[in-house]
């Protein structure tokens, strides 16, 4: 048998054949294309359609973007330069400062909001990223006062007095908090108010100490106004939102119903009606003779609006905490304030962060609505002074594209952060 075989088979391979390369269609780019773009008839049709759509978009967009004029003084010059295709981006260079700072902010003081904007990142970093040194939080605490001084100007004593009030309040609070939370809170508020009242005389008497040129809030405009409204209102609405959420969970029926009615009312009406209230109605409800300026009324209304939404997010966080945490806190003998401060809120807030960030993004976008009540924010600047000027009447795409881009950059960055945080916080397995 073996003989015949050795005779009939001339060659026996004793090494393995190296694996043949996969067929063309199953390797490299082709495989990727097959699997990701042309898997099946339906998929191929989709791909082709997507390509057509993409080509159509790009064939319009690219010549517009790259054939644009950047250095013309007005739309007529621009139309001569671009000859039909391309965009008049010179409106952006020409009105750059107006788009960012509005029409009335003094141009020699542009560095102030810019600096405040840069410092915002430093201030907010330790809040966003846990692994940064905790000492940076001191700067975060100081930031509101620095930013106020930089943006609004005036003597540095005003923010200093405000800061002093908080410091005094904090010390009174920490001194009394062992006895009674309510007493400590009341004492802190009284202490802060007294400090502000006393400090008011000091800062009025010495109005020139380290004074920057004062800018009334009416003169804020452009993208800066959106940023101010967004940052201020979100920061202010957080504590209010926490209180509202706790109030809604409270066992005291009257407090609970006050919070429920407030939250549901605010969530039930569009922001624009609240802005109408700020603009055309609120003045009638203020004491005769007082006159807030519009930006302050708008800040109040947007803050109320945001706090209702944040309250709902935090309520979700509170509800998501296992019942055992509440019971454990009770069994340790902690009272309500202690249990909330030490056990419940730290956990509930941590769960709520992605939701809060979503509310913050939504709110930041909604700050554009102030343009409808004749404030010159970014959208208001475009709709008002820029488009109505003889120079730039008729330039739409460039301006709206720019506005959309600015908001996209900010909001996309925040939402990416939120997703990153969600992944980080997600320790469970599915």
């Amino acid at each position: 048998m073996s003989d015949t075989h050795s005779e009939s088979i001339a060659f026996v391979r004793d090494t393995e054949i190296p694996p043949a390369p996969p067929p063309m269609a199953e390797a490299g780019a082709v495989k990727w294309l097959r699997e990701n773009l042309f898997a099946g008839v339906f998929n191929s049709i989709l791909t082709v359609l997507a390509f057509i759509a993409l080509f159509y978009l790009m064939s319009g967009f690219l010549p517009w973007l790259f054939g644009g004029a950047w250095n013309t003084a007005n739309i007529r010059e621009c139309r001569e330069v671009i000859q039909g295709s391309g965009g008049c981006f010179s409106v952006l260079t020409d009105r750059w400062n107006q788009l960012l700072f509005g029409i009335a902010y003094p141009s020699e003081a542009y560095w102030r909001p810019t600096l405040a904007f840069v410092m915002l990142f430093v201030a907010i970093a330790p809040v966003l990223f846990n692994n940064l040194p905790r000492q940076m939080l001191i700067f975060t605490g100081l930031y509101p006062f620095i930013a106020f001084w930089l943006i609004w100007g005036g003597t540095i004593l005003i923010p200093l007095v405000a800061l002093a009030g908080f410091v005094v309040g904090y010390f009174i609070f920490s001194a009394l908090t062992k006895q009674s939370f309510a007493m400590a809170l009341g004492g802190a508020v009284v202490g802060a108010l007294v400090t502000w009242w006393l400090g008011g005389f000091v800062s009025q008497a010495m109005a020139d100490v380290l004074a920057l040129e004062q800018v009334p809030s009416r003169n804020m405009g452009g993208f800066m106004l959106n940023m101010i409204l967004g940052v201020v209102c979100v920061s202010l609405s957080l504590p209010i939102g926490i209180v509202l959420a706790l109030g809604r969970q409270s066992s005291m029926p009257i407090i609970k119903w006050i919070c429920v009615v407030f939250i549901e009312f605010v969530r039930g009406v569009p922001l624009i009606t609240l802005l109408f209230v700020a603009n055309v109605v609120l003045a009638y409800f203020l004491p005769p003779g007082t006159n807030f300026d519009l930006i302050l009324r708008v800040i109040i209304m947007i803050t109320l609006f945001a706090s209702a939404y944040i309250a709902e997010v935090i309520r979700g966080g509170l509800a998501a905490l296992p019942r055992g945490q509440y019971e454990a806190a009770d069994s340790l003998g902690l009272d309500y304030a202690q249990a909330m401060q030490l056990i419940i809120l730290p956990q509930a807030l941590k769960i709520s962060i992605p939701g809060i960030v979503n509310v913050a993004v939504g709110l930041f976008k909604d700050t554009t609505l102030v343009s409808i009540i004749s404030m010159f924010d970014l959208v208001g600047m475009i709709r008002g002074p820029i488009l109505s000027s003889t120079d730039w009447n008729g330039v739409y795409w460039e301006l709206w594209g720019f506005a959309a881009l600015l908001f996209f950059v900010v909001c996309y960055a925040i939402s990416q952060y939120s997703q990153w945080l969600e992944r980080k916080l997600q320790t469970g397995h599915r």
Partner: protein, 403 residues
């Protein structure tokens, strides 16, 4: 054990209001109530004093006065001599119209985009995430203004006019202009009711047939075809009746006469711009919800369904979607609410919703700011509460029934 006695009964002391947890909550609530009442009283007092100082009063009589202005798109009869109240009704119906259309279209768009974003097709998935991110991260007001600008660049009716017309009507019956889209309107001649009745009857017939087929399948395992009979039932009886009755239903085709297209059904530009903007914007949010809902379904469910021999389409319909709906519905409700509330931005494109009529022109012309804004908020509040009420009922019906 037996030494346990009741604590000595304490008589009520005033300090217990602050220190005793049994009574403290009453103190807090009392304080809260007093503070609330105080704030309300101060605000009301300010209002009275301010109004008296300005020589104004609160009165709703203006609602009965003639509005004096015209509205371009009305669902109910309205002329400039109608009352302000009628104008408000026009606005309410317009708000509901755009909200309804927006919800419908946004849902369709959102489901498609959400499913396609999970598609294995790389290009399509990326395009869809581009769409979702671009619309989620830019304010809706900017999108409304951009889409309005796009709609305005559509051909004007002048482009359809004369021998040198640069545009033709779509299929000869639909005109799309920057003033709106004009589509043929059905005209009902004598006997048309019979045709309509036949049509409705055949729709009912389709449902009955499908139900029968399903029961048959479940009871006997016999599978009847459903698709072709349904289509046949849909068309054949109606068409038959249509020709028997001598073609009583015609179409009123819009035609360019004078400045504008006349005849047919007109969907005005502001409605189109607002509708598109709201639904594309909200569609991006719904897409995210749909995606999250589908991803929330455990992979084991899909695998279990596959191992039962279900086809991918059936897996989606019978296993994944019913479960995903529970995750999708709650955020969907708030998206619907958002569309309704965002429709108040109609003012930016000139759509006559309630904010533009009652809260806009009526407010301007009568100067009754407080009354108008109060009514406006009341309306939105009622709508919001109604939507969440009905959606919650539905939500409860699809929620997990634990046994």
């Amino acid at each position: 054990m037996t030494t346990m006695t009741d604590p000595p009964r304490q008589s009520f002391r005033l300090s217990m209001l602050l220190n005793d947890t049994r009574y403290r909550s009453y103190t807090f609530q009392f304080i809260a109530l007093v503070v609330l009442a105080g704030i309300v009283a101060v605000l009301a007092n300010n209002l009275v004093v301010n109004l008296a100082a300005a020589g104004l009063n609160i009165s709703y009589e203006f609602l009965a006065n003639p509005a004096g202005y015209d509205i371009n798109q009305t669902l109910i009869p309205y002329t400039s001599q109608s009352s302000n109240l009628q104008a408000a009704w026009v606005g309410i119906l317009n708000t509901l119209l755009v909200a309804f259309l927006g919800c419908l279209f946004a849902t369709i768009l959102g489901v498609i985009a959400g499913v396609l974003r999970l598609s294995k097709n790389w290009l399509v998935a990326k395009l869809m995430s581009l769409y979702v991110e671009a619309f989620r991260n830019v304010p809706v007001l900017i999108w409304i203004l951009i889409i309005n600008t796009i709609v305005v660049t559509m051909p004007s009716p002048r482009a359809y006019r004369g021998d040198a017309a640069t545009h033709e009507m779509l299929f000869g019956v639909i005109a799309y202009t920057n003033r709106g889209v004009y589509i043929p309107a059905p005209t009902f001649g004598p006997g048309s009711m019979i045709v309509v009745a036949t049509f409705i009857a055949s729709i009912i017939g389709i449902f009955a047939y499908r139900r029968y087929a399903k029961n048959l399948l479940f009871n006997t395992g016999k599978l009847l075809p459903t698709l072709w009979p349904s289509i046949a039932l849909f068309f054949v009886p109606t068409l038959l009746m249509y020709f028997i009755m001598g073609m009583p239903i015609g179409a009123d085709i819009p035609a360019l006469t004078g400045f504008n297209f006349q005849g047919g059904i007109q969907i005005q530009r502001p409605l189109i711009a607002l509708w598109l903007a709201l639904s594309i914007y909200t569609g991006a949010f719904i897409a995210e919800n749909v995606r999250a809902g589908i991803l929330a379904i455990n992979k084991g469910q899909t695998e279990a369904a596959a191992s039962l021999g279900l086809r991918p389409g059936r897996i989606m319909n019978l296993v994944v979607l019913p479960q995903a709906l529970r995750v999708i519905i709650p955020p969907l409700i708030s998206n619907y609410l958002n569309i309704t509330k965002n429709s108040s931005l109609a003012i930016a494109v000139g759509y006559a919703d309630i904010t533009a009529t009652l809260g806009g022109i009526t407010l301007n012309q009568t100067g009754r700011a407080i009354e108008c804004v109060l009514l406006l908020m009341l309306f939105y509040l009622i709508i919001s509460l109604l939507i969440s009420f009905f959606m919650n009922i539905y939500n409860r019906s699809v929620s997990l029934k634990e046994r």
